[in-house]
Assembly symmetry: C2
Homo-oligomer: 231 residues x 2
């Protein structure tokens, strides 16, 4: 099954025309003909079953023949993470986190952050590709690069965890099920003492993700998988 | 902490000389001087505390001042996986699996395999780098590319799992703790019917890794993390 993405598609829409890029993909790569079925999601829980009525390789047109809404699974998982120096590693995290099923990602600007700029548009493309690949109908929410100060006063989740390699508490022993959860992952150099203290004051529990020293992006994926299993 | 790797180092050794590459790293990049401590593992559980006695940038010489043996953790985890078409994705899997703490990896040649050749030396370099990075003292065992036929008659682990997206049994509900475990991950096109049947006959239990469709390398990492948490 191939899944396409059209963020502006609404439940009431009757027709949809793909852009040039997607049209070429449908007609030239997948070689779809008139009458064949194409599945589209709007990334907001909507799955549209459509039928090709014009397979023009520049503007393939489909008729929407069925619509189904999929509720977002709860509880939600949010990871706030300092982007890695290597962009590849950060994009790998975004891809894998989406595949595994994350709800929200906040790239964090911390005192020891190695990357102080991100390309949000590019990150979003990675999320879209991974959502389509893993056949999901909700696009994870990607927040802009957020300063520690702005981040820490705005936390809303009930269950708050901060990855801390000196913690004696294994993450899997601490998670209480059925609560929206946020996990904080610091940069390679770790959070500063002051950041760590502020997090603890804001009810973040320090948790150990692994007995091994994990890279930032690995910590994110191990943390996410562990939370999903215990929530 | 920096960890170096010297596979031939033995508990009785008194001195060690680094090759040109590592010597340069120690003297030029890390700028270590005579008398400073350098940690070395032989990847077989041995951790050697050594002191620089000659910081020649071509052949840095150290004296071994302490040796400690770390038992391999049990139970063991073995993943047999069909290498992905993209070599990058397979190397990501190797790196992450090592960081998280895998014991053995078998690259599998199956009926639907997309990659029929691997560069074992290159794969091993990825494992060594990830072992050092994550501060572990056991190098995972990397088997050569193994045909399905040879693989399936040689399985030794007590607990046998095969990733199967149509299974209704979540992997976390099936794992019995404290048993050496092997997880089978097929290629993008899946195992053939005959391979799947042979696996089931050899006591492999079909398990569901995720509700989402995961890429091969993601399946490996999610499976490994889940087994580690439940073993």
């Amino acid at each position: 099954m191939n899944l396409f993405y059209a963020p502006d598609l609404n439940p009431d829409d009757k027709l949809f025309v793909f852009d040039k890029n997607e049209s070429r993909h449908i007609s030239r790569v997948l070689r779809k003909n008139i009458g064949e079925i194409v599945w589209i999601t709007n990334g907001k829980g909507g799955l549209f079953k459509t039928k090709i009525i014009d397979n023009n390789p520049n503007k393939t047109k489909v008729e929407i023949i069925d619509y189904q809404y999929y509720e977002k699974k709860s509880p939600k998982i949010h990871i706030a993470i300092a982007p890695t120096k290597s962009n590849d590693r950060m994009e790998w995290f975004l891809e894998k986190a989406t595949e595994i099923g994350i709800d929200e990602i906040t790239p964090l600007l911390t005192e020891h952050s190695e990357r102080k700029k991100i390309n949000t548009e590019r990150y979003n493309r990675v999320l879209v590709a991974a959502m389509k690949q893993s056949l999901q109908y909700h696009l994870p929410r990607l927040n802009p690069l957020t300063s520690w100060k702005d981040f820490i006063i705005g936390v809303k989740e009930q269950q708050r965890l901060i990855a801390y390699c000196q913690s004696k508490e294994k993450i899997s022993n601490l998670i209480r099920p059925k609560k929206d959860t946020i996990l904080l992952i610091g940069p390679e150099g770790g959070f500063s003492e002051s950041e760590f203290e502020q997090a603890v004051q804001r009810d973040f529990q320090p948790v150990l993700l692994s007995e091994n020293r994990l890279r930032t992006e690995t910590a994110g994926i191990v943390g996410l998988t562990t939370i999903k299993l215990n929530l």
